[in-house]
């Protein structure tokens, strides 16, 4: 898209001035929306990894009741439950922020995006805490 004009340029740093493909998750100097973006990406990557992990684990279901129920016993141990809380938190952040990105990103309520982010993240925190209590109470 950007036109590339071959132009003599006494650049000391050349293209290195760019933050770079891995620079996006550097939170230094970022403002609220930038942090939301970083958070959304990190949770997104985490959820993709979880998706494939989940698909692998589910293959145990095909191996019959013993294999699966044995796994479920392990999965009910506190360290695993902590991972569940992490998963829930990631889902909440990604999903709720996603509502904001979807609305704002298509030109709706753009002027309220900041307030919306704060409100949604408060909801995420509350639901995550409630969920954590419920998960650990063993219900």
């Amino acid at each position: 898209m950007a036109t590339t004009v071959d132009r003599p340029r006494p650049a000391a740093g050349g293209e290195e001035g760019r933050r770079g493909a891995t620079g996006w998750f550097d939170p230094r100097g970022r403002r609220m929306g930038g942090l939301a973006f970083i958070l959304n990406r990190l949770t997104g990557i985490g959820l993709v990894l979880y998706l494939y992990l989940h698909l692998v684990i589910l293959s145990m279901l095909a191996r019959g009741p013993e294999a699966w129920d044995q796994f479920v016993d392990i999965a009910l141990s506190p360290p695993f439950l902590a991972l569940d809380v992490l998963l829930l938190t990631g889902l909440l952040i990604h999903g709720l922020n996603g509502i904001r990105v979807g609305l704002v990103g298509l030109g709706f309520v753009a002027s309220r995006q900041r307030a919306m982010f704060i409100a949604l993240m408060v909801v995420a925190a509350l639901v995550a805490i409630a969920g954590a209590l419920r998960i650990f109470s063993g219900e």
Partner: protein, 130 residues
């Protein structure tokens, strides 16, 4: 008032033919669907199945309902799409250039199809084993 002196050229027409709907819209739509499906999933786990969807027998019984199977397959399709478009966006940030980007898109299509096929086959295997 006066205008600029350099003549304003009409922007060059783009020669790439009709473009597909922007991935962003797809992300929003699939994201919205996922919120609904995931909501159903959570409600089902914690309110319909009394002890949560955990043990083998519960799972098998859950899947004996064809509506639930349909929902699971839909979930798989949408979540795979949403995940891989997200991965594509992150990969595109490396600025590889148009050709590599096309390659990435095609590769991710393959990954997505394999994922869905694997998931459906797994579902079939689980139901067969039961």
């Amino acid at each position: 008032m006066t205008s600029d002196t350099r003549p304003v050229e009409p922007p060059p027409s783009r020669d790439e033919g009709p473009r597909s709907a922007p991935p962003f819209v797809g992300q929003v739509v699939s994201g919205a669907v996922l919120i609904v499906l995931l909501g159903l999933h959570m409600v089902a786990q914690h309110f319909i199945v009394p002890s949560g969807l955990r043990f083998y027998d519960d799972v098998i019984e859950w899947l004996s309902n064809p509506v639930m199977v349909a929902i699971e397959v839909a979930f798989l399709v949408f979540v795979t799409y949403h995940a891989l478009v997200g991965v594509r966006a992150i990969l595109f940030d490396f600025g590889f250039g148009k050709r590599t980007e096309r390659l990435i898109t095609n590769l991710l299509w393959v990954v997505g199809i394999v994922t869905v096929v694997y998931g459906v086959a797994l579902l079939a295997a689980i139901l067969n084993a039961a």
